[in-house]
Every structure is written in C-alpha cells, then in structure tokens.
C-alpha cells in the first residue's frame, strides 16, 4: 500500500466522534473489547460477592453475615441467609461467572481486541454486528441482575437448571426470576452467535498477506476454535431454553413427566451444550498462556502444530463426552461405558498441551513478569484440574464422588485456576496495547502471589471434603452426622475465600490506577513477535498505519545468528526463520 493510500485508509477509519460514538456505540473492535472487559469485571465483583456469601453460610451456618443486616426480608433475615436465598446465591454465582465473566472476557474482550490486531487487519468483518453483540450482552446482563429484584427472587435451581425443578414454579417458589434467567441466557446466546460469526469470518477472510493458518498465533487459533464451538453449541442451548420456558409458561410438557415429558431430556440437551461450553471456557485461556509462555521464555512454542491439532481434537471430542455429567442420572449404564471411554480419550489432548508447555519452558530464558507468573500458574493449576477430572471419568469412582465437593474443586481448578489466571495474565500482558500504559509490576506481583496462595486454600480442601462425601449445594452441613469430622475445612476454605477477595482489590486498584497514571508504554514493551505489537500504542481506529506483511511464524525467539532475541512476524528478512 502506498503512503497516500495508507493515509487515506487511515482517514477513512479514524472518525473524530463524540463521547457517544467513541465510548458507547463504538464500532472499533478495540473499544468493544474494552467494553466487554469492563462489563465482565463488574459482573465478576457481583459473582464474587455471591460466592463469599455462600462460603460464609457453609462455614458459619445460619449466623448473620457481617455487614448485611440491612438486607430486607425475604432475602436475608437480620443478615441470616435462608435456604431459598442460599440456593439463589450459588445458582447466580455460577451463572454470572460462567456466562457473564469468563466467556465475555475470553471471547468478548480478548477475542475482539486481539483477533484483528494479531491477524493484521483494520477491524472485524462486521463492525455493526460487533457493536450490537456487546450491547445485547449488556442487556442480557441487566436482565439477569434484575431477576434478583422480582417477586420470588432470582433463579434457585442450580446453574444447570435441572428439570422438573426448574420447569415448574411450584417446586422452588421462584417464578419470574427463573423466566428472566432463561430469557437472559437466550439473549446472551444471540450476542455470542453474532460475535462468533464475526470472529470466524474475520479470521478466515481478513488475514494480512503472508499470514497463513499455520502462522496464526495460538491464541487466535484458540479463539477461532472457540467461536466455532459457540456457533454450534449455542443454538442448541437456545432451543432447550425455549422448551423450558414453554414448559413453565405455555403449558407444554417437554420435561414434565406428569404430562408425558422426560426430565432426562433436559440433561442431554443441557450437557450437549454444556460440555463444549467447558472447552469454550478453557481453550482461549490455553491460547493466552501459550503466547505469554513463549514470549517470556524467549523461546519458540514447543510443538506448534501439535498444540493447534490438540485444540482441534478437543473441539471434535468435546461433542461426544456430555454423558459423563450424567453417569448417575439413570441413563442406560451401557451409555456410561461409552461416555467413559470418550472422556478418557479427551484427557489426551490436554496432556499433550501440558507437555508442550513444559517443552516450551525447557531451555528457555525465563523472565518472571506478572503476565508470565499468571501463565505459569495457569499451567500448574490446570494440571491439578485435569488430573482431578480422571476420578470422575472412571464411572465406578464417580458413583461416590458425583455431586460432592470434589467436583466443585475440580471445576474451580479448571475455570479459576485455569481460565481466570489466564485472564489476569492476559490483561497484564496486553494492557499496554489496550490503554497505552503499563500495569504496575509490584502491585501485579502482590496480587498474583496473594491470589495463588488463597486460591489454593479456598479450593484445594474441596477435594478432601468431597472424598469424605460432603455433598455440593447443601445449605447446612451441620445437619449431617457423617460430615462432622470435615466441618473445620469449611471454615478454612471460607477464610481462604475472604483472603482471595481482598487480594482482588489490589488488582482493581492496579487496573484503574495504571489506566490513568501508569508508566507510558512503548510500542512493543515485551519484545514480542506478533502483529499487535507492530501497531502504534494505543492503536488508532483502523489499527495499522500500513497493513503488515507476514514473513514467518509467531514464535521466532532466540533465533541463532540474530543479534536480538526476537524476530517479529512482520520484519522482512531471509534466513532460517523465514521458513517457519
């Protein structure tokens, strides 16, 4: 592109808009990504506070929650959590964290911000669709939060909403709240579908010259595969949700046995979406960790193709393992055998990825920056979450640990230990490109070590009490004699969770302080190879002054014969590295 054409292109996309078109209804993928990030971080505060209340009740059952005496009945009684509210708390905690925190940050924030920058294009394929996708998600979040304030309160049937509990008001006493939960997730599904169509189209059609599929950074691969999973999984969830809403309001009986319905159908429909969903929650985290590990080991990613292939394998196998959530549901035991086999098989690509991360660290020159610490924690914690999954995959062992705290520990090691650590790492890593300033390293490290310590205090004991038989979703463990020897763990975990919460304040302070007063970032502060670092910091509307041309793969670090230890994708040159 000639300079004049570049200047023209620059003009065309640089709208000197007012506040509304710049910050609210922006069509710029970077602003939309940041909007998703802020919305999700706000939702994370709500989801976290709900979790703290759950923890309080488990450690100090039926004692008033400190500072909450003002909450009116029937939510709390002088600060004491009643069982109806307790069920609401964990249902909404999970719903918010999964659908309104982890997915929107990984897919909405990182997906939007990174894809055009990392493939070397000026924006998403469909900018208006992109803007709508954010505002529809925000509307869905509003619907979900509003459900707390309707009569009967918010949904209380678990985030899995098993029918018939969720299918008729009489079983929970929750009316409009459960309807709003359903509608909110349907609306969010529309947003996700818009986003995923956009991502897929953009990645397939708009890559910079020279950016072949196997020169894509792994995080773009992960977001591409995630978008395909979302596109295929969400319509199915939307259909199931519609059926549930019709059962509740319009007299159908898909899931109500007294009129000929079949409750187990809901579980099949839910988990057919729900298991790909689990990989939607972790794949982008794997991608983010891969970027950061390679950059701060100053080393090419070990087994790039194996990494991409493992993600593709996960994407296929993810569709045939849903029954492992249903081993004790009354499903034909022969199907249990089949799902156990597929579940054991899907462990293999995750193992491959772990070994390749270790291979990336091997022989590296490892810099322990805040993003790197989080990526390392991601690997370490994900190993625990992966290994604990094997217990549930073995059907006979699952008989005992199904629906116990063991599974709660497992999911938190994958989704918090995995995804959330990757999110913190990704925020610290791309913050300079997002806001033009560096996050503070000291605060970042304080936040990291505090989070790692208290995360493990909060969640590791869940495995121990799960093995002791402690059921999940029970309001008061003191009601059971056989749980008595385990109760002290509940107190330890609750203290851990309070510590975990306190250290997140450090993150919030660092995030907002750095946004306005952090050290100014250079164009490529980490000396990284990928294309986003070719754009100015922060990138203007339209991203690149000149469309970059890609000459090599994304991970050419410490190339022999080069005087620097990095070799950007867009730097012309010959030599051995150009082949990769």
């Amino acid at each position: 592109m000639s300079e004049a054409a570049a200047a023209h292109a620059h003009d065309e996309h640089h709208h000197e808009g007012g506040f509304v078109s710049t910050y609210l209804f922006s069509l710029d993928h970077k602003m939309i990504g940041k909007q998703f990030l802020l919305l999700s971080l706000f939702m994370m505060i709500i989801g976290g506070l709900l979790a703290l209340m759950v923890r309080w009740q488990l450690a100090y059952p039926e004692q008033p929650v400190p500072g909450l005496a003002w909450v009116p009945e029937p939510y709390l009684y002088d600060g004491i959590i009643p069982p109806e509210t307790y069920n609401m708390l964990f249902t909404m905690h999970a719903t918010i964290m999964i659908f309104f925190v982890v997915i929107p940050i990984l897919v909405g924030a990182f997906g939007n911000f990174l894809i055009p920058l990392m493939i070397g294009t000026k924006d998403m394929a469909f900018p208006i669709l992109n803007m709508l996708s954010f505002w529809i998600a925000a509307f869905a979040g509003g619907l979900l939060i509003s459900s707390f304030f309707v009569e009967g309160g918010a949904a209380a049937g678990g985030w899995t909403a098993y029918a018939p509990l969720s299918a008729a008001e009489v079983y929970t006493g929750v009316g409009l709240g459960q309807d709003l939960w359903i509608i909110s997730l349907v609306v969010l599904g529309i947003s996700s579908m818009m986003g995923s169509i956009n991502y897929i189209t953009t990645i397939i059609n708009m890559r910079a010259p020279g950016m072949t599929m196997f020169r894509l950074p792994l995080v773009v691969w992960s977001l591409f595969i995630t978008a395909i999973l979302l596109l295929l999984a969400l319509p199915e969830l939307t259909a199931a949700m519609a059926m549930l809403l019709f059962d509740r309001r319009f007299g159908t009986a898909f899931f109500l046995p007294e009129h000929g319905g079949e409750p187990i159908l809901w579980q099949h429909l839910f988990w057919f979406f729900g298991h790909p969903e689990v990989y939607i929650l972790i794949l982008p985290g794997m991608g983010i960790a891969s970027e950061i590990l390679s950059v701060f080991s100053r080393k090419p990613i070990f087994g790039y193709r194996a990494m991409a292939m493992a993600m593709i394998a996960i994407a296929f196998l993810g569709w045939v393992v849903w029954g492992h959530h249903m081993f004790q549901s009354g499903m034909n035991p022969t199907m249990g055998m089949a799902f156990m086999t597929t579940t054991m098989v899907i462990a293999v690509p995750s193992a491959i990825k772990t070994f390749n991360w270790l291979g990336t660290l091997w022989g590296g020159n490892i810099h322990f920056t805040t993003p790197m610490l989080h990526a390392l924690a991601f690997v370490s914690m994900f190993v625990i979450g992966g290994l604990s999954g094997i217990y549930m995959a073995a059907t006979p062992v699952d008989i005992f640990i199904h629906d116990t705290y063991f599974i709660v520990g497992h999911i938190h090691y994958v989704v918090f230990g995995g995804s959330i650590f990757a999110i913190f790492g990704g925020i610290a890593y791309w913050f300079p490109k997002m806001y033009g300033r560096m996050m503070n390293e000291t605060l970042g490290k304080i936040h990291f070590f505090g989070t790692l310590l208290f995360f493990n205090i909060t969640f590791f004991p869940m495995h121990i009490i799960g093995i002791g038989g402690h059921m999940r979703r029970i309001y008061n463990p003191e009601q059971y004699e056989f749980l008595e020897p385990l109760l002290h763990w509940n107190e330890i975990m609750t203290i851990g969770s309070i510590g975990l919460g306190i250290f997140q304040i450090v993150f919030a302070v660092n995030f907002f302080w750095s946004m306005f007063a952090g050290e100014k970032a250079t164009q490529n502060p980490w000396h990284a190879n990928t294309l986003e670092w070719e754009a100015p910091t922060p990138p203007p509307h339209g991203n690149f002054l000149v469309t970059p041309t890609v000459y090599r793969g994304p991970y050419e670090y410490s190339v022999p014969g080069e005087k620097e230890d990095w070799l950007p994708q867009a730097r012309p040159g010959s030599g051995v590295a150009a082949a990769h």
């Binding site: 100053r298 090419p300 004790q328 059907t395 199904h402």
Partner: protein
C-alpha cells in the same frame, strides 16, 4: 492410607475404593513428576545475563511418546472401570429383599411389599426416612420420585443413584455390617434439599426377622 474415604460396608465398595486408590497413585505420581519438572525448569532456566534460550520448535518423537503414554493409561483405566461399573449398575444378582423408594420434597418413602411379596397390595407398608434391611443379603431398590429429581446417596455403601419422576430405576447393594447410617439427598431438589435425610438400618438376620414380625403383626 487415605483415611478420608468414609467406612465401606458394601460388597462392591471395596472395588470402587481400589479403583479410587489406583487413580490416586497414578495422578499423584503424574502430579509430582509434572510439577517437579515444572519447578526445576523454572529454576534452571531463569533469565540470567548473557544466557540465551535454546532455539527449538519441538520434537516429533517426544510428541508421539507423550500422546501414546497418557492414551495407554486412560484406556487401561477405562477397561478396569468397566468390570466394576457393570457389576454395580448393569447386572442385579439374585434378589433377597426388594424395597421401593419414593423420593419426594423432602423425604424418602420406603415401601415394603409385605408378606405377599407384591407391591400395590393391602399389606404394603410405607415407612418414612427409614430403610431397614438384613445384613449379607442382596437388597434391590426400585427407585422413583414423586416430584423433582433427587439422588439416593449412601456414602458407606458407595451407593448413589438419581431418582427420576416418571421412570423407575433399579439399583442394588449388599451390606456387610450391621448398624445405622445416614441417607442424604445428593441432587439439588429445592429449598429443603439440605437436611433431606433418611437412615439406613442394617440388621442381623434375627433382628430383621423380628422387625418384620413386629411390623406385619397387626
């Protein structure tokens, strides 16, 4: 070793516990190996002045090795699990006592067929939250639910089965010890889920005969 599993009093519980321990040791060894290597690498390859990283894109032999090794472990685990799973869930041995379990918000109803051995007759007896069975006898449970999904969980028997409205699910166990244990509900079933609690009473043969005689001698 592993004192955290509750006591086991069922004939097949030992098989479950054996598998659990096997997986525990496999995962522990993998955990120590992976995390140990990880920490060693972090120390050994920490950035130092003048130090440069090795330039390597990977190694196909290693890729094949660490694809095959976990595959073999997982397939072996699946095969080992298969026999136990079939024993517990797929086949019911010759039955000595049959009890019908109706779960409802928030109680367990246990229905005994009575002397005629048939359900839905006049001599049926319904007992709330108390399952009486003889020791060393195969007990078959016909599980149903009157409203939502519940889950019949007896930790000491290593027994767990969701109960489903509109569908009868059969399960079985054979207790090896007399005594009394709790039967919690393990599937969220509403505001009274916590505290939905029954009791399993395992009697010696004589005590069970006496209990039957007393119950049906009106």
């Amino acid at each position: 070793m592993l004192p955290w599993l509750p006591e086991n009093i069922s004939t097949y519980g030992g098989d479950i516990d054996w598998l659990f321990r096997l997986i525990f040791w496999i995962t522990t060894i993998v955990f120590v190996g992976v995390q140990g290597t990880f920490l060693y690498f972090l120390f050994k390859y920490r950035a130092r002045p003048g130090h440069k990283a090795i330039y390597s894109h990977g190694n196909n032999t290693l890729e094949i090795a660490w694809t095959i090794a976990p595959s073999v472990v997982c397939v072996v685990l699946a095969l080992l699990s298969r026999a136990t799973w079939d024993e517990i869930k797929a086949e019911i041995p010759p039955v000595d006592v049959t009890v019908r379990v109706y779960a409802k918000q928030f109680n367990w109803d246990f229905i005994y067929p009575g002397p005629d051995g048939a359900f839905d007759t006049d001599d049926d007896l319904t007992i709330e939250n108390e399952l009486n069975v003889p020791v060393h006898k195969v007990v078959k449970l016909e599980m149903l639910s009157r409203d939502v999904i519940h889950s019949f969980f007896v930790p000491v028997l290593r027994f767990k089965q969701d109960t489903m409205p509109g569908r009868q699910i059969d399960g079985w166990f054979e207790a090896t010890k007399t005594g009394e244990w709790e039967i919690p509900c393990a599937e969220l079933c509403g505001f009274g889920h916590s505290g939905m609690l029954g009791y399993l009473k395992v009697h010696s043969d004589q005590d069970y005969a006496a209990w039957v005689a007393k119950r049906w001698s009106k």
